[in-house]
Point group: C2
DNA sequence: CGCTTTTGTGAAGCATAATTCACAAAAGTG
DNA sequence: CACTTTTGTGAATTATGCTTCACAAAAGCG
């Protein structure tokens, strides 16, 4: 997985160290290097969630580094740092793939705000394959649980032992295990009379299952 | 799981034993009992795939037993056996939940044909939660594999190390593991230049994923 | 009430999936 | 060619999910 690190790339040692200090004080894990070439090397060993890149550097400049980073590590967010800020420069940086743009000199809080926002965006992009998806799909990946959903859908409402017998499963605790699983994932619920039934979530899931099976068999 | 057993319920000892013999000769595992009450008890201990039930029995008759069986063990197929066969009787039996109807006297082969057909239907109903579904959903239940699918869909075609870097995963063998998995399930393929891309199956899957996530978030 | 069935819990064992590691062939590059 | 990166394999380990088992409270029933 991508690490929690932030990479700082700046040839100006004073500025670099002060950025690192601010970020580390705030609790971030930080790596720093002085050249674009070193940055590329560092990225290969440890892909950061965010890179702060200075525009003007001896050797490969920040503007040249940007597309390389974006190509090989598209998940990493990039904040461009520049001394002689102009509109054109800012626009060019953003067009080259920078996710934000910070003009020197900047205050501690300006830096932190930009970093936090970038990390938030990164997190969001990372989760695009949504987290609740994990549970849902794990739930559906078991045949017994799918059977429970379908029979519940067919019968509307069933008691524990009815389900077990319908599925023809000997060990009732086995069924119980899966019922608990489904209950924890809010796909089924249980009323005062102990009867199980699908929740609205569960019905949606079942719908999806049917959709899936149609699509797969195409 | 439901057992391979066939249950024979008939008060006429001669007929019962001859049925049992025919079925066992053919290789089926058979349980027999003489009354409806005994049958209900036997079902609780061992849910058969199929029950052969005589219509006329002292105590609870076959017609009374049918709805009870269907209620508690809907997965079990039922073949009604009757001596004084009429159309009305046959219709009534089928309406009460019998899956087939056999008039006495019947030949050995008539019995076997009916039994085979019933077992086939039972098997089919059992598999309704399709088998290929298992693999597909297991495949999708892993977050990394889903990420691979989505990034491949976004990029169209990617090489191995590009994928690993994009996902920000350190250990390339880990990605390889999941790529292999996806490849085995025919969701992605690899061309001569070693580039990975989605197969049509894979695209369908991804479609389904999007569908799912929309539904879930509703 | 005593007895059975239903519904349930939690721990132990087993099976499968996922990760890591050590290593290597193939491809690309100077 | 030597050297690096890419792409890959298989075994060992770890994590996770599933099943089984021993047991028990609650509900139903004579």
């Amino acid at each position: 997985m991508i690490t929690e690190t932030i990479l700082v790339v700046d040839d100006d040692q004073d500025l670099r160290e002060s950025i690192v200090e601010i970020l580390e004080d705030y609790g971030y894990k930080v790596t720093a290097c002085a050249t674009a070439e070193a940055a590329l090397q560092a990225m290969k060993e440890d892909v950061p969630r965010l890179a702060l890149v200075d525009n003007m550097m001896p050797g490969m400049g920040g503007m040249a580094l940007l597309p390389l980073l974006k190509k090989d590590f598209p998940a990493t967010k990039i904040i461009m740092i520049t001394a002689f800020s102009t509109v054109d420069n800012a626009v060019a940086a953003m067009r080259s793939g920078a996710d934000d743009y910070l003009a020197k000199p900047f205050k501690r809080d300006e830096l932190l705000v930009a970093v936090r926002r970038a990390l938030e965006e990164q997190k969001f992009a990372q989760q695009q394959t949504e987290p609740c998806m994990d549970e849902a799909l794990a739930c559906l990946s078991n045949q017994i649980r799918r059977q429970i959903l379908t029979t519940l859908s067919a019968q509307g409402e069933m008691r524990f032992m009815d389900i077990t017998r319908t599925l023809g499963i000997r060990d009732h605790t086995k069924v119980n295990f899966h019922l608990k699983n489904l209950k924890n994932n809010n796909l089924i619920s249980q009323n005062r009379q102990k009867s199980y039934r699908l929740t609205s979530q569960g019905e949606k899931m079942l719908d999806c299952l049917h959709l899936l099976s149609k699509r797969i068999s195409l």
